[in-house]
Symmetry: C2
Subunit: 357 residues, 2 copies
């Protein structure tokens, strides 16, 4: 296994997950990278010009490496076939006091534009979810010396990423918050559901890629154990949602602080893709409506304004409160520096890494 710290040019084997939807402010990303860990801009739904601004702002705030996370799934869609779900959501919009929406969903896919931006901006590390990028995009990024990190939720996905030329794989255990990275949602409608302990071992046994462990991680003890188990590092999302530098809104922060370990579920009601979130009214209501949830990204586009209203009007029951199974342990806001300090007994971590090189 290559030493991932050298490879990524970082000093702490922790990656801040590329959470989409306004969480990964340039301040968060830069603060993480400035500690020696790896910050990530979650660019999944971001427009190209917004991503450009974010990258340039991060570069002002840090001279350390950072990553940009993209969705490999095709986001392009144009449909008017959303009647029943839109009718239900319009009822909720009325209750909430926001504008009714028409039966039309149009989403542009800026993936190629964004990849070419990353090349132009010489972003050193690119991570992806929901699949592998096309071979053309992978080739372009490699010519640019970008390191490619792919997310896998089962061993077949990890093998595919290896075959496609990815450099590093994130093993996303069932514990993880937010979207399941699963590639084939028709085959696995709820996402692949392998626990991190079994998933990581299966990927170590069946690929030669360095493995980053993700899902339910929030302590140094877990980091130490995962390194001893053969991980090259860990990726954490939920742990950073309560960082002072994150874009997490107040209602969401309160929900995270209050949540217990058993309060999360896997649901597709927010986006059409399975994702782990804190149980709330929106999930109950859509799931008990009996309506079919529309495929990603249609459902995502349909529910977007309601979720934004939830943030604006402090209604937690309207928001997608993504969180992993470690959420029960999180009780306060902290600075990124304080969070990372909990994980950094550097000599010990380095010793562990060397032992398994």
């Amino acid at each position: 296994m290559a030493n991932i710290l050298e490879r990524l040019n970082i000093t702490i084997p922790i990656i801040q997950a590329g959470m989409a939807g306004g969480i990964t402010t340039p301040e968060l990303v830069a603060a993480v990278s400035n500690t020696g860990a790896l910050g990530t801009i979650g660019a999944g739904y971001m427009h190209t010009n917004k991503l450009k601004e974010a990258i340039q702002r991060v570069k002002q705030l840090t001279d350390k490496p950072f990553a940009v996370n993209l969705f490999s799934a095709n986001l392009e869609v144009f449909t008017t076939d959303v009647d029943e779900m839109q009718a239900l959501l319009n009822k909720k919009r009325k209750e909430t006091g926001i504008d009714k929406q028409e039966n039309l969903v149009k989403v542009n896919d800026y993936l190629h534009e964004k990849v070419y931006l990353l090349i132009k901006e010489k972003v050193p590390i690119v991570s992806t979810a929901f699949g592998a990028l096309s071979s053309v995009l992978i080739e372009r990024l490699k010519e640019n010396n970008s390191i490619l990190i792919g997310m896998a939720t089962n061993v077949s996905e990890a093998q595919l990423l290896e075959d496609m030329g990815y450099d590093i794989v994130v093993a996303q255990g069932i514990e993880a918050g937010g979207h399941r990275g699963t590639f084939d949602i028709e085959k696995y409608p709820n996402g692949s559901d392998i626990g991190l302990i079994a998933l990581m071992q299966s990927i170590l046994d069946n690929t030669s890629l360095p493995v980053i462990a993700a899902g339910g991680i929030y302590t140094r003890q877990q980091l130490d154990g995962l390194l001893a188990m053969g991980a090259s590092g860990v990726q954490m999302g939920t742990r950073f949602l309560l960082a002072k530098e994150a874009g997490t809104n107040k209602t969401y922060r309160r929900a995270l602080v209050k949540a217990n370990y058993q309060d999360t579920v896997i649901t597709n009601v927010f986006s059409g893709r399975p994702a782990r979130a804190i149980k709330n009214g929106f999930i109950n209501e859509i799931e008990s409506s009996g309506l079919d949830v529309l495929p990603f990204p249609i459902q995502n586009e349909l529910t977007k304004d309601l979720r934004a209203a939830g943030a604006e009007f402090s209604i937690s029951d309207l928001q997608s409160l993504w969180a992993g199974q470690g959420v029960g342990a999180l009780h306060k806001e902290e600075s990124v520096e304080d969070i990372i300090a909990l994980f950094t007994d550097k000599n010990r971590m380095k010793a562990n890494l060397i032992e398994h090189d």
Copy 2:
């Protein structure tokens, strides 16, 4: 954390899970204990006289400590209200060529009898699933100097076990094969679903009990990592199903060897309690029938003869093929000695244990 090796009087921090249903032959249990790990008689559905025979036979085969595993759930039931499910199963019985059954289910609960047997036989270690034993039984066992190991699938269950006086807790991650140990099935119809990494940390943070990690474990690397993460040992079930000494039937063994990592699901169709098994025809058929599965242990009693016929006639589609998420890694039968040898670099393990004491 107390040193669990001393406490249990064993030399290898591995517990063979107390799998019910004929798997844990005296030969298996004794072979495991003879290596220095801890063998367990799975006495869940066993009649008292059969358990007595098994205990006495194990004692002939080893002078090392062993455990007996009991269900804390009440098994006593008498009902005739099983019409629809019994009709469906009678259709399957006809296809299979076995006798039709009446609409009557009667199960006796030998729990008290069995506990008094364990006391009489001075069984040193007693483990339980599906809840805590009653305070009276716990008191009797403690007077007998039995060590009590309870299984927990969430932090609340672990706290309850601690409050009731249990000595050790098994953290059963969602990865585990067989029955979910979850106490309150009305609250969690699919069982608590926390991944081992998050579950174990939450129990370490919220109880002072030594924690045995369970679920998806099949390599020494995982054992090392879990010890580094604060576990006092690991419990493995699936890994021992292919042991030559186990009572696993041939069709079941073949299914285990063939299964991939993604081939298991959580289902309640066999017993009325959620459990992880390799997907097969029985699961598909009952789940797609639209019938309500009857509660544990009624459903278990109803399906028992069909599952036995599956074993007898080598029909894997009729059996409950319990298996954990590590099953994809298992490809051959081995002796218990060979299995344990994969995990025993004793100095290294002891060093790990001491470091975390």
